[in-house]
């Protein structure tokens, strides 16, 4: 099945797209030109506006300004149905598959072939899907329940779904976020096959290596604006990173060490049980120490045990063996509240799920976890006035942009919400701060501010365990970097000599146990 569009002609052309949401300009005057028969990457940081742009292209919302042209024709989409009708298909980052149905049923869902009298023509469907699978060189048991498939296979079911509806232009949103390296290769092999048939692939990513290896053209988006349109031949990794970030990358060299001698966090031989009985241990023999004035970075692809490590330190994970000492005290068996009062603070991975009460005003969010503090309460009662004063202090100090402390948390932008969480956790005079992706989804200016706060706190004696997927953040802030892979610590690196490439090879498990 090949399209009649000649290579070189534009499959998709977005011009002057502007889209705003309450409080934030997601896309401003964005241009995108995708040539037919290519793999086109859209690159940018978290929150740069890539997903918003693709949602506009897929008809999930309408742009405030701008035009969309597909195969040379002007189109408007009122809903994804219109986009699908024109031949655009989208594979989302979070798969939309029904676990209780089979592969066949999922692929035809919403697009079922019906004969006369409304009976499902399953045999026709089978034939068509088999044709698609052969063209892609994949093989599936169409009657296998989706629940039994692995992540890479599910993604391929999603692609089949999109192709079954006759998509000629495929949009993939962060497709490799959940794949291991081997699956990534298989995915791009599939995509190359699609493109050789004349289809077009657009994929969103912030993983620069993949982009440079696999795609034909790149568009860089930063803070809602298109900043560049280039090809892998014309730019290297560092250049691409600079286009994405827009400023000089942090230089770790030339700073003084403030690392003290007092251990504030000691994790010794910790093992955490797996998700189900009989499953592999989620964490195995984890041991490290964080001293006062030290930032220990943990690098690793998400899902290698970082979350379980935080839960273990917090006292929420099913620890099978090992010990946790906080500020010198053995708190292995202690509850979370006790650990917090002993000097532990936690900036959670997901501020919406674990960090904020979205419907509550900011002063109540300031109290979260702190309602027992003597200067924020009086006896069994909370002191609203003092909580409000404390929240005002945090808002000023950390630059949270909000009209007042009475505003509910959902009204703030993501970056400001994160600043509030960071400010709250750092205002409890902690001895050890567990910071998981502290600048995720935060604009560059706020990111710099948070980094400054972390640095000055560190200089004053705070110990920080920094878990991050942002390699520049890890290199720029850490005194030591530990790499986690598959539930173990596989390497310890000196940030002064580590580069994103070296870190990358350790993080994907290619190299294990080699210290720099």
């Amino acid at each position: 099945m090949s399209t009649t569009t000649e290579a070189g002609a534009l499959a998709v052309e977005l011009s002057g797209i502007t889209k705003t949401f309450p409080g934030v300009i997601a896309n401003k005057d964005v241009d995108l030109r995708v040539r037919a028969g290519t793999i086109h990457a859209i690159v940018g940081e978290n929150g740069a506006g890539k997903s918003t742009l693709m949602k506009t292209l897929y008809g999930m919302h309408q742009p405030d300004e701008g035009t969309i042209r597909v195969d040379g024709r002007d189109v408007t989409f009122r809903s994804p149905t219109d986009a699908i009708a024109v031949g655009i298909g989208m594979v989302h980052q979070h798969f939309k598959l029904a676990d209780n149905l089979t592969v066949l049923e999922n692929v035809i869902l919403g697009n079922e072939p019906v004969g006369s009298r409304g009976r499902l023509r399953l045999d026709d469907a089978r034939r068509d899907i088999r044709g698609l699978m052969d063209a892609l060189n994949v093989d599936f048991d169409l009657d296998a329940p989706v629940a039994s498939l692995g992540v890479g296979q599910r993604q391929r079911v999603e692609i089949l779904k999109v192709l079954y509806r006759g998509a000629k232009i495929l949009i993939l949103d962060e497709p490799t976020a959940v794949l291991v390296p081997q699956e990534v290769e298989e995915l791009f092999a599939t995509l190359k096959r699609l493109v050789s048939e004349g289809r077009t692939v657009i994929f969103i990513s912030h993983k620069l290596d993949e982009v440079l290896t696999y795609c034909d053209e790149i568009t860089v988006i930063r803070q809602g604006l298109t900043v560049a349109h280039t090809t892998p031949r014309a730019v290297d990794r560092r250049g691409l990173a600079e286009l994405m970030v827009g400023s000089d990358l942090p230089n770790p060299a030339g700073r003084t060490s403030h690392v003290g001698a007092t251990p504030v966090l000691e994790v010794h031989d910790v093992a955490v049980a797996g998700a189900s009985p009989g499953a592999k241990l989620a964490l195995e023999s984890i041991s490290f120490t964080v001293h006062d004035g030290e930032v220990v970075g943990i690098a690793g692809v998400e899902g290698n045990g970082q979350f379980e490590l935080c839960e273990a330190i917090l006292g929420l994970a099913p620890m099978v063996s090992g010990s946790v000492h906080i500020a010198g005290r053995d708190l292995t068996l202690a509850g979370t509240r006790e650990r917090i009062t002993s000097g532990l603070s936690y900036i959670p991975f997901d501020r919406h799920r674990e960090g904020l009460l979205l419907d509550a005003p900011l002063w109540e969010n300031t109290l979260l976890g702190r309602e027992d503090e003597s200067d924020l309460s009086s006896g069994p009662f909370i002191s609203r006035r003092r909580a409000e004063a404390e929240s005002r202090r945090i808002i000023d100090r950390f630059g949270v942009r909000t009209p007042s402390e009475q505003v509910p948390a959902f009204a703030l932008s993501g970056g400001n919400q994160q600043k509030l969480v960071v400010g709250r956790e750092m205002s409890t005079a902690p001895k050890i701060l567990l910071a998981a992706h502290p600048t995720r989804g935060v604009d560059v200016g706020a990111q710099a501010a948070i980094w400054d706060e972390l640095r000055s706190a560190r200089d004053a004696g705070l110990g920080v365990l920094l878990i991050s997927a942002d390699l520049e953040e890890l290199i720029g802030l850490s005194d030591r970097i530990l790499v986690m892979f598959d539930g173990r610590i596989t390497a310890e690196l000196d940030p002064g000599r580590a580069t994103p490439e070296i870190l990358g090879t350790h993080m994907t498990g290619e190299v294990q146990g080699v210290a720099q």
């Binding site: 592969v103 060189n137 994949v138 093989d139 599936f140 048991d141 009657d143 296998a144 039994s148 498939l149 890479g152 296979q153 391929r156 298989e186």
Partner: protein, 273 residues
């Protein structure tokens, strides 16, 4: 090339190895056996009589329908606590339809009314995103109040009706007994009641029970729908006050058995001889 193949179902022995049909058969026979023993020991001849089976079916019907209603909703991802309210409105409209235009009209009206209330639930939960449980409870409250009021307006003062009962419905669906098995009519000749004869051999184990079971399924089919009763202010069965008590009283011409499924809380299910 990725291949995903289905895993062949492992060989199983014993209970799990039987087909579902076989398993059902065994369970049913086992149950009959137990009931038979109980009947002989307790000398309760009525336990497995065709009358008991028949009224069991009658009483089970509303429960079955309500269960299916819940199943339908759950499959679509909606929690339907409001089935109660939909039942009440449906039965009121059914009673009204049966009174005015006959039993079949009653059924039609009940169907339409019930689905309209379902539409209301859908409007609240899908369009306005109201919590499913809350919406269901609100609908139950509203349905109870509405049917109380409408009963007073329409049914009070009518023959056979009152503020808690709909007037006698017109006609019925007729009755039907299986020929030969249950002594049904063929033309104007009454066929011998073979199962009935077996049923009366109370000294034998198992035989009268099975006969009673099968005869219960094949006799008195579609008993006359003499009156659909929506009891609101006071349950006619037990005198308890409870809004939304639905007493379904079904009388059959051949058998003076009345079964009353009273939802009112203090009542439970009773049966009159």
């Amino acid at each position: 090339m990725t291949a995903v193949t289905a895993v062949a179902a492992p060989e199983r022995s014993g209970w799990k190895g039987l087909s579902p049909a076989r398993r059902t058969m065994i369970i049913w026979l086992g149950g009959m056996f137990v009931l038979s023993i109980v009947r002989i020991i307790a000398d309760a001849d009525d336990l497995t009589s065709s009358g008991t089976i028949a009224s069991t079916l009658r009483v089970a019907t509303p429960i079955l329908l309500a269960g299916m209603a819940g199943l339908w909703a759950e499959r679509a991802g909606i929690v339907n606590i409001g089935i109660e309210g939909m039942m009440i409105v449906g039965s009121w409209c059914g009673g009204y339809g049966a009174w005015k235009w006959g039993s079949w009209a009653g059924i039609a009206m009940a169907l339409v009314a019930g689905s309209l209330v379902g539409l209301l639930h859908a409007l609240a939960t899908v369009r306005f995103n109201v919590d499913h449980v809350v919406s269901g409870i609100a609908i139950n409250t509203l349905a109870a109040g509405a049917t109380e009021y409408l009963s007073i307006i329409f049914f009070k003062g009518q023959k056979g009706g009152g503020e808690s009962q709909s007037p006698t419905g017109k006609g019925g669906y007729g009755e039907f007994d299986m020929p030969f098995l249950s002594g049904g009519r063929i033309g104007s000749w009454r066929s011998p009641d073979i199962l009935g004869w077996f049923e009366r051999q109370h000294d034998l184990p198992l035989v009268p029970d099975v006969a009673g079971f099968v005869r219960g399924l094949t006799s008195d089919i579609c008993p006359r729908w003499s009156r659909l009763r929506s009891s609101h202010s006071r349950c006619g069965c037990c005198g308890a006050r409870g809004s939304g008590c639905v007493c379904v009283r079904v009388a059959s011409r051949r058998r003076p058995v009345r079964a009353s499924a009273c939802r009112s809380t203090a009542c439970g299910i009773r049966q009159w001889p």
